[in-house]
């Protein structure tokens, strides 16, 4: 990586974004210097992406930016759209979110890098190809020049995107949700790569909703809420001793900061898998796996995606047949008392059916009273008016709590939570996990938690099982 001797600085002063007469981003000021990257933290709708788009100059046509954004003495907000576009790839480059979608599916990786040299820098064809190979080698992709995007993993696509910004050689790199759709390991390595970009002397602006990414990048952190910058300062200070309520909630929601609160196993064996093995095609997921759950405990399985965590739970529930081994259930429990929570809450509900109808059908099917549903609803602090909405019309966190309600109605002894909080925003994740812990203590059911989040598993589980430990790339 070429270390750059640079004096550049990006200064944002009083940046506002208006939609007609509505001010949706108000009075943002910060500066980015070489070696001190800035991370803008916030949830979707907080306006953080609009700030990036205003600097980049690709705001949607109906939005208007005002204020100043000065890079090397040039005001990025002034001038025509054509002017701004001329800076793309030259002085500002964008690391796209979900790079596997941002690469042209019909063009080889090498060509997608080389065209920057050829058509932006105006170099010759052969020289461009050679330089592109160097750019790819720099991110460890010497072998990938002839591959198409569909032949590469998400992490490799991300590295191609980085090679493309290197080819441009711009001063300012804007990374828009660079870890969206990546699992923990890939997220960490992507963050490390971005950090190296900053260390090599580039100005780096990263947009993310993930506290862990902000922590990994270091430098400066700005927290955005409802179009305003509510907190801004060095990462350690902001994330270590947050002052604003929202930042505090955000940091508190990160499992890494939680106190350990694992329930202790209290009771008898509920379900066990003995000597389980499973392969899909040539790939062996696990061999001779033993797992046991007792009443009142939380057992977590952690591991990278594709390691077979979910399959273990599905085997226990009888949804998947193991190649070898057996599942033993404690005597006397009806199979309906073994229930499951799903990763994507909306996908586990009937899309066009109001929640109330689904719950009423369920209560009727099993001879329960509606009053039991109401009692659970209040217990899970779900507002009554949510009952008349459809699954798509309520938040993921609320819907997952309805899924818990639905399971509790059947008086479960075992609950398999399959990445049940991974699609939720951090605050909702914390709420759902807290309810889960309360219920485990109250009802003494056994919970199998499958997650890719080591910290989450560490904090709340009685026992921990690691799958697929053999060196995730």
């Amino acid at each position: 990586m070429n270390v750059r001797a640079s004096m550049e600085e990006l200064v944002i002063d009083g940046l506002c974004v208006d939609a007609g007469n509505d001010r949706i981003v108000a009075d943002i000021s910060f500066s980015i210097r070489a070696g001190a990257p800035l991370t803008l933290l916030g949830e979707s709708g907080s306006g953080k992406s609009l700030v990036a788009q205003a600097i980049m100059g690709n705001l949607p046509a109906e939005l208007r930016a005002s204020g100043r954004a000065v890079l090397d003495g040039v005001d990025l907000l002034a001038g025509s759209a054509a002017n701004r576009r001329r800076r793309w790839g030259r002085s500002i480059s964008l690391m796209p979110q979900e790079p596997w979608l941002a690469l042209d599916p019909t063009m080889r990786a090498g060509a997608q890098v080389a065209e920057v040299h050829r058509h932006v820098k105006g170099r010759g064809g052969q020289e461009s190809e050679r330089l592109a190979r160097d750019d790819l080698a720099e991110v460890g992709l010497d072998h990938a020049a002839m591959l198409y995007p569909h032949q590469m993993s998400g992490g490799m696509c991300q590295r191609v995107a980085i090679a493309i910004t290197h080819a441009g050689g711009s001063d300012l790199v804007i990374a828009d949700e660079p870890t969206k759709g990546l699992d923990t390991e890939l997220r960490d390595s992507a963050a490390a790569r971005l950090r190296r970009e900053a260390e090599s002397g580039r100005l780096l602006l990263t947009i993310t909703h993930d506290v862990a990414v902000a922590r990994a990048l270091g430098g400066m952190v700005g927290v955005m809420l409802d179009g305003r910058l509510v907190e801004y300062g060095p990462a350690q200070a902001v994330l270590g001793e947050p002052r604003h309520d929202y930042t505090r909630a955000l940091v508190a929601a990160d499992p890494e900061t939680w106190a350990r609160q694992a329930p202790a196993a209290s009771g008898d064996l509920v379900i066990a898998g003995r000597g389980l093995s499973k392969s899909f095609g040539d790939k062996t997921l696990f061999r001779n796996l033993n797992i046991e759950l007792r009443a009142g405990e939380i057992v977590s399985i952690v591991g990278p995606s594709g390691c077979g965590k979910t399959t273990v739970g599905n085997i226990l529930l009888g949804l998947v047949t193991p190649d070898e081994g057996e599942v033993v259930r404690a005597n006397g429990h009806a199979s309906l008392r073994f229930q499951k929570l799903y990763q994507d809450p909306p996908a586990a509900f009937i899309p066009h059916q109001p929640i109330r109808k689904g719950l009423a059908d369920l209560a009727a099917l099993h001879g329960r009273q509606w009053s039991e549903v109401e009692a659970l609803r209040e217990r899970l602090r779900l507002r009554e008016d949510l009952l008349d909405r459809r699954p798509g019309q309520i938040s993921g966190g609320e819907l997952q709590r309805f899924a818990i309600l639905r399971a509790l109605l059947l008086d479960p002894v075992f609950l398999f939570a399959d990445e049940a909080t991974s699609r939720l925003d951090p605050v909702s994740q914390k709420e759902v996990i807290e309810f889960l812990l309360e219920i485990v203590r109250e009802k003494g059911l056994a919970v199998l938690l499958v997650t890719h989040d080591r910290h989450l598993a560490d904090r709340i589980s009685t026992k921990l099982i690691r799958l697929g430990d053999q060196s995730p790339s």
Partner: protein
């Protein structure tokens, strides 16, 4: 023709302007097809040579053809024939197609493989060719025409139902419903049918449009229904030699086919932007 064009047929949730227009069109032409033969007392087969090619608006409301047959009566009966035959064909294709598609998606295994093979065999030839080959057994008869059309059109119902149902059946919502104790009846009624119904409705409209086009086309190239049956396609061809004297007469049945097909396609396609 008999190729149903599903790529353009994504049903739209919004009941947009063009779909509304299609419904109105279909209601008007369909009403004419259903009620016309009852209201118009004239016999579509009675000839009156003194009225040959009678003009529009005279004794005959829409004029008369070269044999002096009431064009209004012939159009009404022709529309009823087209519409009725198309409707029956659609039913004959949709009912087995949907049921087999559901069965294949639900059961899988040899049943699905066998049905897939059958569907592939039918699709190896363009639909109209199959209909033509069957028409060779008995040109001018309803039987092979109906059979041939149903035989080609069921495949699309089968494939769409099977694919759509298979996609739904692997969704967590189905597994969740089973885990919660709901039976196959509940799952079919509340999860599968509501999801595939809009697609089936779209396909049905397309299938009817295809059938109407195929019947009139085959009759026009004298392989389908034969004169004197008041069939819209053969009416056009019969009247064609008299185009110089009565151009509008020729265009009336053509316009009727066009409106029927347009109505069906607009309903099927909705307001695609």
């Amino acid at each position: 023709m008999t190729a149903i064009d599903i790529s353009l047929a994504t049903p739209h949730a919004r009941f947009g302007a063009s779909r509304l227009f299609g419904a109105a069109l279909l209601l008007a032409v369909g009403g004419f097809a259903v009620l016309g033969p009852l209201v118009v007392k004239a016999d579509p087969a009675v000839q009156d040579f003194s009225a040959s090619l009678a003009p529009i608006g005279g004794d005959y409301l829409l004029g008369a053809d070269h044999y002096g047959r009431s064009l209004l009566a012939r159009l009404a009966h022709g529309a009823r024939l087209s519409f009725g035959l198309a409707f029956l064909t659609m039913l004959a294709a949709a009912v087995p197609g949907v049921l087999l598609g559901l069965a294949a998606a639900w059961k899988g295994g040899w049943l699905a493989r066998g049905l897939d093979l059958l569907a592939t065999v039918v699709l190896a030839l363009p639909g109209l060719m199959l209909v033509l080959l069957l028409m060779a057994f008995a040109p001018g008869n309803y039987g092979p025409l109906f059979l041939g059309l149903a035989l080609t059109l069921w495949v699309e119902f089968y494939r769409v139902t099977r694919a759509a149902t298979a996609t739904i059946l692997v969704q967590p919502q189905i597994e969740a419903a089973r885990m919660l104790g709901f039976g196959p009846g509940y799952i079919l009624r509340n999860q599968v049918f509501p999801a595939i119904a809009p697609m089936i409705a779209t396909l049905s409209a397309f299938a009817m449009a295809s059938a109407i086009v195929a019947v009139s086309t085959l009759s026009a190239i004298s392989v389908g229904l034969q004169p004197p049956t008041p069939e819209l396609g053969s009416m056009i061809v019969e009247l064609l030699p008299y185009y110089a004297e009565a151009p509008v007469h020729v265009l009336l049945p053509a316009a009727l086919i066009f409106l029927l097909v347009l109505g069906l396609q607009l309903i099927a396609q909705g307001d695609r932007s």
